[in-house]
């Protein structure tokens, strides 16, 4: 006797268990810390103007650990990491950690639209002529630099970052 539902149901159950095992064991984040000639060296110092007005000073000794994220509105992984960076910036806003975005080869109007769409919870600076990105050796967004309080580069993360990676990097920079 044919029992199509028996076969379909059993197949579905096996599929569900495999899917659950697969999804349930996905890591929340991959380790993407990259080696960089700047690691352990002093980060380039600059004063950059912010998209929404005002300016920000990056590099050099500071009471805060600084996370610098180079991003662009045309970059897919930047969309992916935007909520993670926002989460991280939000969770650490009272803990002497500053997150600054630096626009990489993009128009401010596009960046503002991106911020509106994805609700970035950290300020972003304009890098005219890509001078700061060049000084940092950034070739493609997203790239994230973690700078410790003495102004040295503690970690460089290439590709989309997650809040937990940044937490880890900040602990290393303490």
């Amino acid at each position: 006797m044919k029992r199509p539902l028996f076969i379909a149901g059993t197949g579905a159950a096996i599929f569900i268990v495999i899917l659950s095992a697969f999804l349930g064991t996905r890591p929340a984040a991959d380790d993407v810390t990259a080696s960089s000639p700047l690691l352990g060296k002093a980060a380039p110092v600059a004063t950059l103007s912010l998209l929404h007005g005002g300016s920000v000073h990056v590099g050099g000794p500071s009471p805060n650990i600084t996370v610098i994220n180079f991003w662009a509105s045309w970059c897919g992984p930047c969309v992916t990491e935007s909520p993670e960076l926002s989460t991280f910036a939000w969770n650490n806003r009272l803990d002497h950690v500053t997150v600054v975005g630096v626009l990489f080869n993009d128009l401010a109007s596009n960046a503002l639209a991106f911020e509106r769409q994805y609700g970035n919870l950290f300020p972003t600076a304009v890098d005219n002529g890509g001078q700061y990105a060049n000084a940092c050796g950034v070739t493609a967004p997203p790239t994230t630099y973690v700078i410790d309080r003495s102004g040295r580069v503690a970690a460089v993360l290439v590709g989309a970052v997650t809040a937990s990676q940044l937490d880890h990097a900040v602990v290393m920079a303490q």
């Binding site: 996905r26 992984p77 992916t80 503002l112 919870l121 005219n128």
Partner: protein
């Protein structure tokens, strides 16, 4: 006695009562007794209510000894956002889910108290208890809302700025969760029927009145979420095909399929097993959606709360849904209906087509949501699936669904021929054609919007035809005329009208949107799509909660709107662009303040080049988008009307 202790006590007691409830039902089952489900579920609910009360009191009194309150509340947070703080983060959302589920359980136990010794009711109640116990377990362990704060700032961190900008956050999440919880009830009964082997009974039909309400709540919840996003995020859109949005849409799609196929079971006794599969699938998708939202595995623009819940949620998913699939395998073939659908153009035939479309749509959305995880597992690199993928599927599927909405209500059960359908639809089709031609004359010459308007008019006409029929019937019965709009089928037609409004709104707003950025000096105007916006003044406004750089803009010389850059206290480092919207039934003019000129920086950027005193504004003109929100309201109204039983039935 402190908040941490009391909160934990409520969570533990609720879990305990749920477990005792399961044991009690198992013993009652063995002895063929009624058990004590009513009293135990009531105690369970009371325990959850106690926990929720502790949380609410802590939020309202800014009791920062709770870590959750310290992180999501501040001394200056207004009352409404203190209350909504409960669902502004993971742990509190689980608490909201738990209380809604406990309420659902009590309602079911109470409504079926006279059948409390029935095996199906007992099993279903036991499964509901088990799901509550699972949520209590989450709160006792990985998602504990009552963790004591070790250190905290004396004024509190304050809620996420995006969640204190619009009162819609007070109703959107509870409605959404009501919809999710509502999926648990048919799931519990489907499992109970499969376990007891009483698969031939009409429980799914009987439960329809609950599922219609929770489906309505889910629908309105989704629309309100879109409205919130439109009013707060400042990008002029309302739907981004983000995993979080998809996780609400997925159960809605299968739930909508279910509501239709249950009617076929009611009228023709067909599709019984299919309905159980749909009930199980809808529940499965709510859990999977929670996984997408809360595990941190899926990258989402909404994933403000990540956690370690992933493996636990997927374990629960595998257990419940896998068991469901095995039960279907075990019992399913006993229920295969000897009769089939006689004619594809009969109403049941069209409902099956509707089901295939909804399920196909759901599969495509699910694939698009899961694809980045699969790709990353195989290739190690990150990809995102963007809106175009989803739109390619959503647009044709919606067009065909509109056609089905037009045809199905005029089709008869069992036998129907295309000729009969055409005869009934002909007058409506002429009117729809007239409307479409009017649109053509008015200057709309694009094929897709015209086709959509034609089908929308056809679907609306079909719904109005049905409502007119029940209007006449009500008159003949001597009932009050408003009674014509009550009952399942009339309520369903009102829902159809709401969906048509939303379809027209979506088609118009996305097809004929105009968007442009302008830089304006004070007193200057800009024109876009026949609307003139004038920059009147720039001012700084502040209150106890926020500081705003506010732009005063005149739209067409009349309405004043106030787009702003808002900075909330406690989180001054981040600005929110609050849009100013001039809404009307015909079109919305949506203005955002993008930048205020500093006049200092040179470079290619528009914003940086602004002279001091000038502003950069983004203007979006979207025709008819207001009908989206009206349509959502009508959908909710229709699902409530369908509850109202006619006296004669």
């Amino acid at each position: 006695m402190n908040a941490t202790f009391l909160g934990h006590l409520g969570v533990w007691l609720s879990g305990m009562f749920a477990l005792v409830g399961m044991v009690d039902l198992a013993m009652a089952r063995r002895r063929h007794q009624r058990g004590h489900a009513l009293i135990l579920s009531a105690l369970m609910l009371l325990s959850v209510v106690a926990s929720v009360t502790v949380m609410q009191v802590a939020l309202i009194t800014h009791n920062f000894s709770l870590s959750y309150v310290a992180e999501n509340n501040a001394t200056f947070t207004p009352l409404i956002y203190s209350i909504t703080g409960m669902w502004s983060n993971l742990e509190g959302s689980i608490l909201l889910w738990a209380i809604l589920l406990a309420i659902g359980t009590v309602v079911i136990v109470f409504v079926y108290r006279s059948r409390a010794a029935d095996a199906v009711v007992q099993w279903a109640t036991g499964i509901l208890f088990a799901v509550v116990a699972f949520f209590a377990l989450l709160m006792a362990g990985p998602a504990d809302p009552f963790v004591r704060a070790v250190t905290y700032s004396p004024q509190g961190a304050g809620p996420n700025a995006l969640l204190q900008d619009n009162p819609l956050v007070a109703i959107h999440p509870p409605l959404l969760y009501t919809g999710f919880v509502g999926a648990t009830i048919p799931f519990a009964f489907a499992m109970a029927m499969l376990i007891t082997g009483r698969v031939g009974e009409a429980w799914m039909v009987e439960l329809r009145r609950f599922t219609v309400v929770t489906w309505g709540a889910l629908s309105v919840g989704i629309v309100l979420g879109a409205w919130w996003s439109y009013q707060v995020l400042g990008w002029g859109g309302f739907w981004g095909w983000d995993p979080v949005e998809n996780s609400a849409l997925l159960p809605w799609l299968t739930g909508t399929a279910y509501l239709h196929s249950v009617i076929v079971q009611d009228r023709r006794g067909l599709l019984r097993m299919w309905n159980m599969v749909l009930a199980i699938t809808t529940f499965a998708l709510t859990i999977l959606g929670t996984f997408f939202t809360r595990s941190g595995v899926v990258q989402s623009v909404h994933a403000f709360s990540t956690s370690t819940l992933g493996p636990i949620l997927m374990g629960f998913f595998a257990l419940t849904v896998g068991a469901g699939a095995l039960l279907v395998a075990w019992r399913g073939d006993a229920l295969r209906s000897p009769v089939g659908i006689e004619s594809p153009s009969s109403r049941e035939g069209l409902f099956v087509a509707n089901n295939i479309l909804f399920i196909g749509f759901a599969i495509v959305v699910l694939l698009g949501t899961v694809f980045p995880i699969l790709y990353q597992a195989v290739n190690g690199s990150v990809v995102t699936v963007g809106a175009p993928y989803f739109v390619h599927v959503a647009a044709p599927a919606s067009i065909v669904l509109l056609l089905l909405m037009a045809v199905a209500p005029v089709a008869g059960w069992r036998r129907a021929t295309p000729a009969v359908l055409w005869r009934r639809l002909r007058p409506i089709a002429w009117i729809a054609l007239l409307i479409t031609m009017t649109c053509w004359v008015a200057g709309i010459h694009r094929v897709v919007p015209l086709a959509a308007y034609f089908l929308a008019a056809l679907a609306a006409g079909s719904a109005v035809r049905s409502l007119a029929g029940s209007w006449r019937a009500a008159h003949q019965r001597g009932d009050a005329r408003w009674r014509a709009f009550t009952g399942p089928s009339a309520g369903g037609m009102v829902v159809h009208l709401g969906i048509v409004m939303m379809a027209v709104a979506i088609v118009s707003a996305t097809s004929f949107v105009s968007r442009q950025e302008f830089s304006l000096a004070r007193g200057q105007s800009a024109e876009i799509a026949g609307n003139v916006v004038t920059f009147d003044a720039l001012r700084s406004v502040s209150d106890s909660l926020k500081v705003q750089t506010q732009l005063v803009v005149h739209v067409n010389g009349g309405t004043i709107i106030l787009p702003a850059i808002t900075s909330f206290r406690g989180r001054e480092s981040q600005d929110v662009a609050t849009p100013g919207i001039d809404s009307s039934l015909w079109r919305d003019v949506y203005v955002t303040l993008d930048a205020v000129g500093q006049g200092t920086v040179s470079g290619p950027q528009v914003a940086s080049n602004l002279p001091t005193g000038s502003v950069a504004i983004g203007v979006t003109v979207e025709p008819m988008i207001y009908w989206m929100w009206i349509g959502g309201f009508v959908v909710g109204l229709g699902s409530l009307l369908s509850l109202w039983r006619r006296r004669d039935s």
